[in-house]
């Protein structure tokens, strides 16, 4: 067939509305994928740049060795902004002979590259964003250092051998969150002044960082060029702040899952409409074949037609997707101010390729049936398509979905779980649907009331109806899964940080202070009454093997910010009972009367060091060696904001060593001034404020929640499209039957009633199938992919089937209303 003829046939098909549904299905597929992908892409970028505030940069290169000048030169050459920071502990002295251990951070001009430095002009006052960094010769102090050192703004203090003027009160800097337990009160100064203090000597414990800011691709190119590992470490937000990384990961997975379900739904809609298009062309093709059209030319013709439809859909879909996305952003910005970065090209590519794959995997197989249509069909109508091609069409659809989903999510596990859920549901619930339909058989076959007519009709077209229940069920199930996961995710995030979660930590509490401090905290703050002894110590040997050798030979990852991990000094504690929010993974917690020296390790820590229950560890604590056997391995919730310990001893081992104590409490923002009172009463303790960090996490969670709800809305739209396509696909058979009934004298009301009843019953059954499937899949997904707890949802069992019935009823009647009003003769002649 010549291209001109194909265009003419396409135009005639379009004019008669035959191509319309296929085009619409493809356009909606591309539209929803493009819109979701655009939203995900831009929100991800926004979230990442927002979370970059926690690093004060997009990436940093860090380590215990000075950053080579070559790194700065290379970064400058690539147009990457950079600034140095140095952190180290040191003593500072005030004139009144008071001294205090502080955590010094020295920064260069331009710090921070992301986020804001907040400073105030009075201790414990709320701060404002600062315009710059301390001038040379000036330091900014944490509010709690003012009472501790007995100084005021404008006074001078000594760091090493140099004197500095106190310029401002430091409220917060963006990258403080990192490893909170190593922080003393902060002193901020200029990196140019560090040499003058002479406190930095060879062997000093200093964390050097080169903060970097630039486009992702440029940064990755720099990383490849410098290859800073293993002497220095290259870090982004995910590695350096696990709690935010985890929230981001889950949100990203959810958004991707939403997009993935949108693709699946759109694919089903494309397959349905292509199938309808093809089956309406069986006669068409048979006639063309008798007129001498060869199978090859027919195949080429329809593939060209599909390519044409595909190309038009891609253009329309990308435009509509962009439009839908802009509309969503506009709606979103009326609720909260949104600033989204420019999208990458990926969403558009994703939309176009999705359209192409949908067309090939879902629409080509039904069209391939046409290739095999026998021209004898013009004489003998009963000759359909060869049965083998149906296997092909399912296989192509499955392969297409799999390929699309894996490419889309980049996660084989997520894809396989979703697909496995869908297929199990299809298999098992095909049977369930059949049984449900059988149940309707007893209601009688006599046309008289709409309900009986509907049940009889459902029974007669049992195979089609089972398929339709499954399609409706699948669509509703995918939507329910999304709703359930959204609820689980949000509950988990809200539950993770309750309103009264501890937002301040108190460290360096000496034994004599435990009692008065506890009394003060109990009276003035929300305090849980837990106070932990803390002793510094380090591991020197495991199972008699020197820690250095053990680490070199077996440890999975040997380094972190504090230098060598196994041999570095750790905070040790002891406890008779297991602290809350801990969970034993292996081994058992010690019995109260057990007098052996036992120790409990955190799971990741133990795994990294290749340690397990039964291994014996030797510790160096204050110059003395202590040996203990590993009794159990614990998992703990790092995001709980509770004091957590890698290593916990059984009672009776550490009591004789000098300990300081650690506790945490919640303080409402308006009661911040209590810190002044606390520090005046206990000047030697260290208070660490994490309320700013918590607020930042909460704002990210809120942003992610909005994104999730938007995506949910989009996928709902795609689900409705499947319902429409499915009803359209089955329209002909249903309408012919009802037109026939009308010619036999059935009233319009009877027919409309029967249609309504049929759709309601189909929807009800589909709802039942969907609820069962959604509960199972959501249980598997929450456990396997999102690592959340599993729960049943009784409300779903009532509302799922009812909503299904209502949804299919409304969409079904809307799709067939016009035809109920059409004179039956037109329907019978037109089909």
């Amino acid at each position: 067939m010549s291209p001109r003829l194909i265009l003419r046939l396409a135009w005639r098909d379009w004019r008669s509305g035959e191509l319309g549904l296929l085009l619409v299905a493809l356009v909606v597929a591309i539209t929803s994928v493009t819109a979701v992908a655009l939203l995900v892409d831009r929100l991800q970028r926004a979230l990442l740049s927002e979370s970059a505030d926690f690093l004060a940069a997009d990436r940093y290169i860090g380590g215990s060795q000075p950053i080579p000048e070559a790194f700065r030169v290379a970064a400058t050459a690539r147009g990457i902004d950079h600034v140095d920071t140095l952190s180290f502990p040191s003593m500072v002295f005030a004139d009144g002979e008071r001294s205090q251990l502080v955590s010094i951070k020295a920064v260069g001009e331009g710090y921070p590259l992301r986020g804001r430095l907040i400073a105030a002009d009075e201790p414990f006052a709320p701060g404002r964003p600062a315009d710059g960094v301390p001038a040379e010769g000036e330091v900014w102090l944490d509010a709690r250092l003012f009472p501790a050192l007995g100084v005021a703004l404008g006074d001078e203090i000594e760091v090493g051998v140099a004197r500095f003027r106190i310029g401002r009160v430091l409220v917060s800097e963006p990258d403080r969150g990192g490893s909170m337990f190593d922080l003393g009160p902060r002193l901020l100064m200029r990196v140019e002044d560090v040499a003058r203090t002479e406190v930095v000597q060879p062997g000093s414990r200093i964390a050097y960082r080169l903060l970097l800011r630039g486009p992702d691709a440029t940064l990755e190119a720099l990383r490849a060029e410098l290859d800073p590992e293993p002497t220095w470490r290259w870090r982004g937000i995910r590695e350096s702040s696990p709690s935010i990384g985890a929230a981001l990961d889950r949100a990203e997975r959810f958004l991707l899952l939403g997009g993935l379900l949108g693709v699946l739904l759109a694919g089903v809609a494309v397959a349905l409409s292509a199938h309808r298009y093809a089956s309406r062309h069986y006669d068409h093709v048979a006639i063309l074949k008798t007129l001498g059209a060869t199978p090859g030319s027919i195949l080429r013709g329809f593939l060209m037609l599909l390519s044409l439809v595909g190309a038009v859909s891609v253009v329309l879909g990308l435009l509509a997707g962009t439009g839908a996305h802009l509309a969503m952003v506009a709606v979103l910005s009326t609720i909260v101010p949104v600033e989204l970065p420019m999208p990458s090209l990926r969403p558009f590519l994703l939309g176009a390729v999705t359209g192409f794959i949908c067309a090939v995997a879902f629409a080509v197989p039904p069209l391939l049936h046409l290739y095999r249509i026998s021209p004898m069909r013009v004489i003998r109508r009963d000759l359909g398509a060869a049965p083998a091609s149906q296997v092909l069409s399912y296989a192509a659809a499955a392969a297409g979905s799999l390929g699309l989903l894996v490419w889309y999510t980049g996660s084989l596990a997520l894809t396989l779980w979703t697909l496995a859920g869908s297929f199990v549901v299809l298999g098992v619930f095909g049977l369930l649907a059949l049984l449900l339909l059988r149940g309707g058989r007893l209601a009688g076959m006599q046309a008289g009331s709409g309900w009986r007519l509907a049940l009889a009709g459902l029974q007669r077209r049992r195979r089609e109806n089972v398929a339709q229940i499954l399609i409706f069920g699948l669509a509703i199930m995918l939507l329910l899964i999304l709703v359930l996961l959204r609820t689980a995710l949000l509950d988990q995030w809200r539950g993770q940080l309750p309103a009264d979660a501890p937002n301040h930590f108190v460290m360096n509490v000496v034994p004599e202070q435990v009692e008065p401090l506890s009394a003060l905290l109990a009276a003035e703050t929300t305090w849980r009454g837990e106070i932990f002894p803390m002793i510094r110590g380090r591991i020197v040997a495991a199972n008699g093997i020197d820690a250095r050798d053990w680490e070199r030979d077996r440890a999975v990852s040997a380094e972190d910010d504090d230098g060598p991990r196994m041999r570095s000094e750790r905070n040790l504690t002891w406890a008779a009972t297991m602290p809350a929010a801990n969970e034993i993974v292996r081994g058992a917690w010690w019995a109260p009367d057990d007098t052996r020296a036992l120790v409990s390790l955190e799971a990741d820590y133990a795994a990294n060091l290749a340690l397990d229950v039964g291994d014996r560890l030797r510790f160096d604590i204050a110059g003395q060696e202590v040996e203990a056997e590993i009794a159990n391995i614990r998992r703990l919730d790092w995001e709980s904001m509770q004091p957590n310990f890698f290593i916990i001893f059984s009672p009776g081992v550490l009591e004789d060593y000098p300990a300081t104590y650690l506790t945490s409490f919640h303080l409402a923002p308006e009661r911040k001034r209590f810190l002044n009172e606390l520090l005046s009463a206990f000047p030697t303790v260290t208070v660490i404020e994490v309320d700013a960090l918590i607020r930042q996490i909460q704002s990210i969670v809120a942003r992610v929640t909005q994104a999730i709800e938007l995506v949910l809305g989009l996928v709902l739209a795609a689900g409705c499209l499947v319902l429409v396509a499915s009803i359209q696909a089955s329209r002909d058979g249903r309408l012919q039957e009802h037109a026939l009934l009308r010619t036999l004298g059935g009233s319009r009301r009877l027919i409309a009633g029967a249609l309504a009843a049929e759709f309601a019953i189909l929807g009800l059954f589909a709802g039942i199938v969907a609820v069962v499937g959604a509960e199972l899949s959501a249980a598997v997904l929450t456990r396997q992919v999102f690592s959340l707890g599993v729960a049943l949802h009784p409300w779903l069992w009532l509302w799922g089937p009812l909503a299904g019935a209502l949804l299919v009823l409304v969409v079904g009647l809307a799709g067939t209303r016009r035809l109920v009003d059409t004179p039956p003769m037109l329907i019978l002649r037109g089909l």
Partner: protein, 229 residues
Amino acid sequence: MSEVVIRSVQAIRAKGLEKVVPTSEGQLAILAGIDLEINAGESVAIVGASGSGKTTLLGILAGLDLPTGGSVALAGQELTTLDEEARARIRAEQVGFVFQSFQLLGSLTALENVMLPGELRGDRGAEQDARGYLEKVGLGARTGHYPRQLSGGEQQRVAIARAFASRPNVLFADEPTGNLDTATGQRIIDLLFALNAETRTTLILVTHDDRVAARCQRVIEIEAGRLRV
């Protein structure tokens, strides 16, 4: 030279045609041992009771279906050794069809339906030709009408116009009057034979109307899948 003569003389030659289909009660022979020769320009009626196999025979002679045994040649080409692709090409060059149920494409107008064979051949003058044929069947004024807007007789006239627009050497007609009343059927048959005489086409016509059969030069009767001699 002799082969060309044979081609021009013999439109169709079938030898030992068999068609066996599997059914739930074993193999069913629809056609058995059919030998048949039809000369170019001849008009032949195939008659027989319902289920006698006459439509199946027509389908095989026209290259729409394959026999399970024997051979069949159309315009000198052995059909059983060709694939569907090649058979379709022969249909495009040699064959026209008129069916009992008209088989017009519902989404195309009368003119567009008649243009189809020309368009499939890639003729530039397809539209001009189609208008001419529609004039000949008396539907020159209804070129823009869709099949559902035409009566049965009119639809069959469009189908005849389309069949002759194929410029066939052999025209197959399967019960062309089967869906029409007697008077309309009579006019359709008149039209068919008039055009046939004008174009000197070989005509093979399946019918169970004796009066229609009587107008053909030769009548072949088929009974339970065998020719009655």
